[in-house]
Symmetry: C2
Subunit: 192 residues, 2 copies
């Protein structure tokens, strides 16, 4: 149950067996069926999720009623609405499962206790945020300056397995294009 996340930890810090046990005890293991809402607009996001198995996505509905997918998370990724988590402000995001999932949930309270007890974990969370920030900043640059085809190729590099796992319209809503246009891009890409 904890093997993947313990490997994740071991890539950045060394915990004693006791510390690791405490860390694991702070995580809530949950199996969640496909298409379950984990967060909805107006709610305060009081958790960070680690995906043990499955696929989830974070999205919002813009003022024109369009769904915008901000990110996907598959095995070994974390997901949260950090703005809401940090400021304790109502979220504008939806977080939903796209497949049957096994999740490890770290609540805000548990995280605070955990970091008090095992301050070494600050480093792991810092490095996780650093990687995440780099991904989001990269996505911002691509959103501003890249063509849809360039964004699609970038998406394939970042999430190679996703096109086989999730419906195309989710990918289109991540790329900011229509499902029809994505279908054209895919055909053009396959011909190459």
């Amino acid at each position: 149950m904890f093997q993947a996340i313990n490997n994740y930890v071991a890539r950045t810090i060394q915990l004693t067996p006791d510390e690791l046990e405490y860390f694991n005890a702070m995580l809530e293991y949950k199996t969640v069926p496909k298409k379950t809402m984990l967060l909805q607009p107006g709610e305060i996001c009081n958790f960070e999720l680690y995906v043990n198995k499955g696929c989830i996505r974070e999205y919002y509905i813009d003022s024109k009623g369009a769904e915008i997918t901000l990110q996907f998370a598959v095995e070994d990724w974390w997901m949260s609405d950090l703005t809401s988590f940090q400021d304790q402000s109502p979220s504008i995001m939806y977080i939903e499962t796209l497949e049957d999932c096994e999740l490890l949930i770290l609540s805000r309270n548990a995280k605070e206790k955990l970091l008090m007890q095992v301050p070494k974990l600050e480093r792991m969370f810092r490095l996780m945020l650093q990687r995440h920030l780099s991904v989001v900043q990269n996505r911002l640059v691509k959103t501003i300056s890249y063509t849809a085809m360039e964004r699609y190729l970038e998406f394939l590099t970042r999430y190679p397995a996703l096109p086989q796992r999730v419906a195309q319209h989710y990918i289109a809503s991540y790329l900011g294009i229509s499902a029809e246009f994505l279908s054209k891009l895919r055909k053009r890409h396959l011909k190459k």
Copy 2:
């Protein structure tokens, strides 16, 4: 010289006088004239900057030759190209001073030593990244879904003093619009 940054530290963690002294000793104080390049594409970003006084911006040139400003940093803000810093990969960014600046520079080597000696600082850097991530994610949402006027109002909230401090075309390149269009938005906003 270190008063502002030490206040910054004190807002998240408590250091002993010795730890604080070590932290300050790891920072390089530098006065840099206006319009100095601190980072250019192709270079590896081996520093994080804290702005003691002045204003700097980070930008890149897109494939059509347009300047895109990613962020500004004024007093009490940090700046770096984290992707390059983290992956030790060549940057695509420019970082330049827009005013005469007093900067505190933390090199990658110094940061590593510092975090070994004073692991408490992991927490400060984690919280700094968390805020930064929230800002960038918010900017991504605004870039995808907001009108130019909404982005301008958001910009004024985030950087209230900047319109008086930097040339308008920098602000336009942050908002992703032409300087002429920004001028129209400003007039429309002032009329309200």
